[in-house]
Amino acid sequence: MNIHEYQGKEILKKYGVRIQDGIVVDTPERAVEAYRSIAERTGSKFVVVKSQIHAGGRGKGQIQGLEQRGVQVAKSPDQVREIATNLLGNVLVTHQTGPEGKKVNKIFLAEDAYYPGASEPKEYYISILLDRAKGCPVIMASTEGGMDIEEVAEHTPEKIIKEWVDPRVGLQGFQARKIAFAFGLSGNAFKEMVKFITSLYTAYWESDASMFEINPVLKTSDDKIMAIDAKVNLDDNALIRHPELAIMRDTNEEDPLEVEAGESNLNYVKLDGNVGCMVNGAGLAMGTMDLIKLSGGEPANFLDVGGGANAKTVEAGFRIILKDPNVKAILINIFGGIVRCDRVATGVVEAYKAIGNIPVPIIVRLQGTNAEEGARIINESGLKVYSAIEFKEAAAKVTEVLKSLGL
């Protein structure tokens, strides 16, 4: 589960990681209030206004139809009001959102961290994530703060330091020191960096995160180390033991069809193709998407109805798929192991009748337990459904249907 920057920073703060603090608001009026309170506390007139959406590239991103970037520094209440009005309720397009962009519902007003002082501010990069191959967390750090880490990895891989953590003993002091030394820090900044990394690891571990990416980590002009941004991804499987984190979910950031599917316990991911599909098992669901593509179509979705496919789940699946206006045909692909094909077939027929008129052709491929019985039920139902048993047959039927639709 992804969370917003301001929520990630709340977690960091709880574990003693210094953050560029601020106030999250959802109206221009509250933005002005927040500005006054921050300016009073810091004694600086500079405040950064940051759009809160689940996508990176906000700083360079552009609000649709306006000359307004997703992140901007303001130095007066009037300017804050103007920026907040431009951002809130409007759509921000960044290189990560796709051309459709994401609506900004909240903005985070952050204190000025780049104030002048004894030394130059300097930005770093630190992230903690799972190394799947090694089966342990890895800390990735770089002096190239503010840059996209994938670009750093491609062009100057030698600038990335990796430190693997033994999960049984956790992060050790020498590991945090190694990174701080590699950054070339000394004195108070060094001490602050060691503390920063140590607390960051604790936050990552204790919140069952999949990723914490802090980019940039800032060394301020007075040698404090703080998180300017926070990109956090939490392990969905562990949310059950973190109710305080589970409530951070923002369904506004998710596709409404995906939210609806989740409520029916269906695993659905919306894609932008023209052939919908409903499958049992995640691997077969991906394989079915691939088969649709090879047959001349484009998959409109991923949908795993799981091991207990029945009339109710099939109906729920149909209803979700049919809400996507791009869907021109539907392929149902069930390999009945424990699930019996005749039951699924009955489910398809019942769902079809319950929904009434399904306006797109349907191809049903039932294989495995009682497959022939399933095919018979489909064929005798009188519904306009193409039935197949072999996977190859299903592929051919998809091609045939797409041709008949002129696609």
Binding site: A282, G283, G337, I338
Partner: protein, 291 residues
């Protein structure tokens, strides 16, 4: 011959008396699997499916001599069940449970490295040696004793491959469902290696999916050490970047874990890569020169 489990394996079921455990234990017994008992803490001394129930895995091992365990325990307690089995001396631990927190698996995997055992899964359909032993949830009737071994991250795609191999007249030795989680006990490479060393296995089907580097690791190993034809498929050629496709591990992070990248490496390493999952059986026939 076969790998991991055979007709002599003595199997216990952890989470024996729960609904999942009961249903699948029954199916396993019907297939002819030697289920010698089960474990449900607090129900020791009872009998279930005509087999003894034990409070601990250690009790079950001491009494029955069990060497294989299958786990149907809810996600929050599954890592504990894995460690209990390892501690009790179980040699092959098969964990079916889906949804175990990654942190729990990190620690459990570290823990079992200190024990003499192999973990299959979690989030997997189990291990099945055709006509001998079913330690999992795969439908038994699609299997037929034969010569092809299967390694797969996905349940239903395994069934698909098994079915095609049976219809192609090749049959199976052992099918190993390694699981779709980011951290699993036995990697693709390790499972392929087991089958490569099995004298009865003449060919191997390797089914992977987007996410991670396990298929590439296996491919490099096959290139260096392979002695049998391998047919490979990677699910998720049409999956978008950054979205989790059902399995916790099926997510494209960077350029290396796309289906295209994996398929290219596998081809370069001499694996017969199929673009369509419908072509697994016939491609294996070709790879064996029997088409």
């Amino acid at each position: 011959m076969s790998v991991l489990v055979n007709k002599n394996s003595k199997i216990i079921v952890q989470g024996f008396t729960g609904s999942e455990g009961t249903f699948h234990a029954q199916q396993m017994i019907e297939y002819g699997t030697n289920v010698v008992g089960g474990v449900t803490p607090g129900k020791g001394g009872q009998s279930h499916l005509d087999r003894p129930v034990f409070n601990t895995v250690a009790d079950a091992v001491n009494t029955t001599g069990a060497d294989v365990s299958i786990i149907f325990v809810p996600p929050a307690f599954a890592a504990d069940a894995i460690m209990e089995a390892a501690d009790a001396g179980i040699k092959v631990i098969v964990c079916i449970t889906e949804g175990i927190p990654t942190k729990d698996m990190m620690l459990a995997k570290e823990y079992i490295t200190t024990k003499d055992c192999r973990l299959i899964g979690p989030n997997c359909p189990g291990v099945m040696t055709a006509d001998e032993c079913k330690v999992g949830i795969m439908p038994g009737f699609i299997f037929k004793k034969g010569t092809i071994g299967i390694v797969s991250k996905s349940g239903t795609l395994t069934y698909e491959a098994v079915d095609q191999l049976t219809k192609a007249g090749l049959g199976q030795t052992t099918a190993i469902g390694i699981g779709g989680d980011p951290i699993i006990g036995t990697t693709t490479k390790e499972a392929v290696e087991l089958l490569m060393n099995d004298p009865e296995t003449e060919g191997i089907v390797m089914i992977g999916e987007i996410g991670g580097s396990m298929e590439a690791d296996a491919a490099y190993w096959i290139k260096a050490n392979g002695t049998k034809p391998v047919v490979g498929f990677i699910a998720g050629q049409t999956a978008p970047k950054g979205r989790r496709m059902g399995h916790a591990g099926a997510i494209i992070g960077g350029a290396d874990d796309t289906a295209a990248a994996k398929m290219r490496i596998m081809s370069e390493c001499g694996i017969f890569v199929v673009e369509s999952p419908a072509l697994i059986g016939e491609t294996m026939l070709k790879a064996l020169g029997r088409d």
